[in-house]
Subunit: 272 residues, 2 copies
């Protein structure tokens, strides 16, 4: 089999998907990645499914022009609403964050009572719930939207008293339902793992970023499209809007500043 050194496209509505990119780079150092954050239209979470689908099509179309070999939807909202359409319309493997998270959730629960937390839109889509029931209808699922978590993370308030109280406020009812495992259904939430374990040390947390990276590795091997194994080029980062705050978030989410970030226009921007 000949190596396939084309890049892997990763997209998110904003900067949160960088937690997925960071896991991908860690697990697959021989691959090259192109990340597109649609920061001009973030957050997708508060938009209608139809709008999310249109935005996702536009973003995927942009990445396709760069000759990617696989598309990773590193965004729970877009995975919930647009993965099926993209899978059907694109001639390459499309990986979302929901299935890998659900697989890990079902593998780890002991009492078959599980929790799902995410943005309002992800929870309202029932995407996790539906996938869980599809795979194992006997599992009880308890879902909770946690809209304060994203701004808490973006503020960098990862270990404040406020954060503990918000964690308590959102997760107490899941814990009262005796869930033993919770999937973090939003790419920002892995940064709150410590705060959540601080309040609820017995919970098992499933980090979709880690699970998705593992799924990408399996899919590359299955499709025989892995790279040559020599170190890939550093990830190329495209954002549809650049602000000062985003330069801070890249360190928070990716662990280090990027070598370079390019600002691009998609959707309406292309036709003005």
């Amino acid at each position: 089999m000949s190596p396939d050194n084309r890049p892997i496209g990763v997209f998110d509505s904003g900067m949160g998907g960088l937690t997925v990119l960071a896991e991908l780079v860690r697990l697959l150092p021989g691959e090259s990645f192109i990340y597109l954050g649609d920061t001009a239209r973030v957050p997708y979470g508060s938009r209608s499914p139809r709008t999310i689908q249109r935005y996702s099509r536009e973003v995927a179309g942009y990445l396709m022009q760069s000759g990617i070999k696989m598309l990773v939807i590193a965004c729970n909202t877009a995975s919930a609403h647009a993965k099926q359409e993209l899978t059907e319309s694109l001639p390459l493997p499309v990986i979302g964050v929901i299935e890998p998270g659900v697989n890990a959730l079902l593998a780890r629960t002991r009492n078959r009572r599980v929790g799902v937390i995410g943005t309002r839109s992800t929870i309202k889509s029932s995407a996790y719930e539906n996938q869980i029931r599809r795979l194992n209808p006997s599992v009880s699922v308890f879902s909770k939207a946690c809209p304060l978590f994203v701004p808490l993370v973006e503020e960098g308030w990862l270990d404040k008293k406020i954060t503990s109280l918000v964690v308590q406020e959102y997760l107490s009812e899941l814990v009262r339902e005796e869930v033993d495992t919770i999937v973090l259904g939003c790419t920002h939430y892995p940064l709150l793992k410590k705060a959540i374990y601080g309040e609820f040390p017995l919970l098992q947390l499933v980090d979709s970023s880690v699970e998705t990276a593992a799924e990408v590795k399996r899919e590359l091997e299955k499709e025989k499209i892995s790279s040559s194994g020599s170190p890939g080029s550093p990830p190329r980062i495209f954002l549809t809007d650049l602000t000062e705050q985003m330069r801070q978030l890249e360190k928070l989410f990716f662990g280090m500043p990027f070598q370079s970030v390019e600002e691009i226009s998609i959707g309406e921007g292309n036709i003005q």
Copy 2:
């Protein structure tokens, strides 16, 4: 002078401007209003000035087609970045929320030490600070971005312990600087007045919604374009994206559900 029964256009990036609309309807029951919330692209606060200007032009263009006699920018971010351009390009009076807030702030401070709170973008624009210095360079201004306030309000957590802690976290440094008056530089913040007074009872808070409505009344009289005085028609509400959450926010921000809401496309939507 003959009455001018054309409607007044009010726009915001989302639902927060409804606090301004509510004050306008209360103060000017004889006027008709058209409200446009650009909910498909909310929040403007995290976008670049150039993007905010483009969005504001598109929204204003839509309202102009409805034959409005005055434009109220019920959005601090858009007032900060787009008011000057809209004032120069549109053939009607344009009122933003910043000048009315600053005038009230300067009228009420006793010790000439004032605070400005708002979204990251509003604070970064220095729009309030610049306007304050223009009118009175001897006043000391202390600014603070409070990104958690909007999601707290949208969650309806107006009098929780968490809210008190977030208020303390954000406002303590302004209080240490001995400011005596703070302008609420975001249309969501009036709903936090009680929580802020609870922590800091001696502060004076300037509510831009109230001040802007008063300014609109003065401008209508000055320009001699007031309506006939008979009750105006109920406000027409246009949103660029409709979700379930928005139906809850209209009660929170406007005090009652709307008779009807129309979903419209602007910007990219028109040319697809």
